[in-house]
């Protein structure tokens, strides 16, 4: 039985390879705005953080949430409202968005962890859809228009975020902090217990862990980090709309993670970069994005379930177990 969330063997060589990739990645991201369009790069970083946060739940705890758009888009709304209507500084808006997503995660997780597997997926989907309807009707989200034209402001009153490089390095900083937090969580004793739940839930129970609490904690952390990504995206694009809370967005983050490699640190980032690039390319070509997304989904599930990065790891380690 091939498990959805099985990670490639975590050998030393992979750890070394990941450090090398991290070093190259950071240098590359520091230099990138001089070569590529900064908005595009920031979009990739926001979605990469979103996918990594989602992967914390799917890849390391074995829970497939079909409702992560609620946290991503919800945080964008909270942040946009605080910054535009209340006149909060951007850092406070982002914090509020993150905290709001964490609270949403607590509520949704409380219900969802009562069931497992596909039921868990369906419950998260249904609850996220409920939040979507709330966003359609609540006055503060301004319905179909969304919250538009929010000012970027000054981070800590110092850094001018309306300058392209200013906001770029701030977003890069947030991205790195978020990914570092996920890396710390995954490699902590807490993360080990999460993995044991993923591998064998009953055994984890028999070892005396109250797995419901661990699952809920993982769900809240994943929601908060997805919220951090969503709130940051709102600051970058200066708006928050219904698009980010739809079930299609929940599907997109699943696809990014699946395509890149479930249960790997780098995979979701690669997947996010791939999907965002693809969307931007298709947007000008007239070919419907939905069809492309669906075909990639089907191909991933049928042909390479380990994802791009997962397949590369498997090749590097020589063993090809499937």
């Amino acid at each position: 039985m091939a498990d959805l969330t099985a990670t490639p063997t975590e050998a030393k060589s992979i750890a070394r390879l990941e450090w090398l990739l991290v070093a190259i990645g950071i240098v590359g991201l520091l230099a990138a705005p001089f070569f590529l369009y900064p908005i595009f790069l920031m979009q990739i970083m926001c979605f990469a953080l979103f996918a990594c946060a989602f992967n914390l739940l799917l890849g390391y705890t074995g829970l497939l949430s079909f409702g992560h758009a609620a946290f991503f888009g919800g945080a964008a709304y909270f942040c946009a409202h605080a910054v535009k209507v209340w006149g909060w500084p951007p850092e406070a808006g982002i914090l509020l968005g993150t905290a709001g997503a964490a609270v949403l995660g607590l509520v949704m997780g409380f219900f969802a962890i009562r069931r497992q597997g596909i039921y868990f997926a369906m419950i998260t989907l249904a609850l996220a859809q409920m939040f979507f309807f709330f966003c359609v009707q609540a006055p503060f989200t301004r319905g179909e228009d969304g919250i538009q034209g929010m000012p970027r402001g000054f981070l800590f009153g110092l850094i001018d975020l309306s300058r392209p490089l200013g906001i770029y390095y701030v977003v890069l900083g947030i991205f790195l902090i978020g990914v570092f937090a996920i890396w710390r969580i995954v490699n902590s004793p807490f993360g080990m217990i999460l993995r044991s739940i993923r591998e064998n839930e009953n055994r984890a129970i028999s070892l005396g862990y109250s797995i419901a609490n661990y699952k809920l904690a993982a769900f809240v952390m994943s929601a908060a980090l997805a919220g951090l990504a969503g709130a940051t995206k709102a600051i970058v694009f200066q708006f928050a709309t219904l698009t980010d809370v739809t079930w299609q967005m929940s599907g997109e983050v699943i696809l990014m993670t699946l395509l890149g490699g479930i249960g790997t640190m780098v995979g979701p980032m690669v997947g996010a970069a791939f999907i965002v690039t693809l969307q931007n390319t298709l947007a000008t070509s007239g070919f419907p994005v939905t069809i492309a997304t669906g075909v990639i989904f089907m191909a991933c599930v049928l042909l390479f379930r380990r994802g791009i990065v997962g397949e590369i790891y498997a090749r590097l380690l020589g063993g090809s177990k499937s």
Binding site: M1, A2, D3, L4, T5, L64, F111, R114, R115, G117, I118, Y119, A121, M122, I123, L125, A126, L127, Q129, M130, F133, F134, Q137, W247, G251, I254, L258, P288, V289, T290, I291, T293, G294, V295, I296, F297, M298, C300, V301, L302, R305
Partner: protein, 295 residues
């Protein structure tokens, strides 16, 4: 005018009828989901897309070949069922030995493709599809006015649900199906072709979705988005009912449709979230679902 709880009786019954119509579609779709899940252990995310596909087959038959409602009532489920069987044979059948979540992800991708194709050609606006002449107009029941087509939908959905239930519980093929659900290896050893049974089951489930789609075409407009919004509500229905029993899925479908209709009378703002609220409450009180046997 007669009043009930401070609401005119006419409006009350009218919303209840709308609820019953919605409930009929919830019941038919959750029935199909339960049939597929029972055999294949796969949640068919493409069910909403197949429902939309069924409606579009009816619409296109009329537009291109001038084939009307009654033949379409047979042809639409047939087309959707055959396409479903082809997909099961070529792709879905490769996923049976994997975690069931892969089936959910695959059919999600499938739903996006089907929906994307129709959206590409027909945009997001709805296309009208007229009810057949024999069912046009309405009947005055004395206490309320019943459009004939809506009555037809309620009756036929009851017949379809009951028929499917009987076919699975009382016929020989149904007995094979149930046996194969319990222990596929043993049934295979008895000389029954289980892979074919699986294909037929997926075909039957898809055809049920297609049939619901063509029934829905005159009630709602034929639109590429008609399935995706519905399927999420149906998922909530399935969580409430539990997929352990087919009858449970059907009964829950009607109940939640009626609950939605009642909410529209008393608190319209909450009408599109009431199903989800009920789902949350059921999860608190009875996590396994109302009719569920599994935890």
């Amino acid at each position: 005018m007669t009043m009930i709880f401070g609401i005119p009786l006419q409006a009350f019954l009218g919303q209840l009828l709308v609820g019953l119509i919605n409930g009929s579609f919830y019941a038919m779709l959750s029935l199909g989901l339960a049939v597929i899940f029972g055999m294949l252990k796969i949640i068919n995310f493409a069910h909403g897309a197949q429902y939309m596909f069924g409606a579009f087959v009816g619409f296109l038959l009329l537009k291109w070949l001038n084939i009307g409602y009654w033949p379409a009532l047979i042809l639409a489920p047939l087309v959707v069922g055959v396409v479903g069987m082809a997909i099961e044979r070529t792709m879905l059948s490769r996923l049976y030995n994997l975690d069931p979540l892969y089936g959910l992800l695959f059919t999600f991708g499938l739903a996006l493709v089907i929906e994307g194709i129709f959206r590409y050609y027909y945009g997001v606006s709805g296309q009208p599809y007229a009810a057949p002449a024999a069912l046009a107009g309405g009947t005055n029941l004395g206490f309320m006015f019943l459009p004939n087509y809506r009555g037809w939908v309620v009756v036929s959905s009851l017949v379809i649900c009951l028929g499917t239930w009987l076919a699975i519980e009382k016929t020989k093929l149904g007995a094979y199906l149930r046996a194969a659900t319990e222990n596929p290896k043993l049934v295979q050893a008895f000389g029954i072709n289980v892979p074919v049974l699986l294909t037929l089951t997926y075909g039957l489930g898809s055809a049920l979705a297609g049939l619901a789609g063509i029934l829905a075409a005159p009630v709602y407009q034929v639109s590429p988005l008609m399935g995706s919004d519905l399927i999420i509500v149906v998922f909530a229905v399935v969580v409430v009912g539990g997929m352990g029993s087919i009858l449970g899925a059907v009964v829950t479908g009607y109940m939640l449709g009626l609950a939605e209709g009642l909410t529209k009378v008393f608190y319209p703002e909450a009408s599109n979230i009431v199903v989800f609220v009920i789902m949350a409450v059921v999860l608190l009180v009875r996590p396994a679902g109302l009719f569920g046997k599994d935890a």
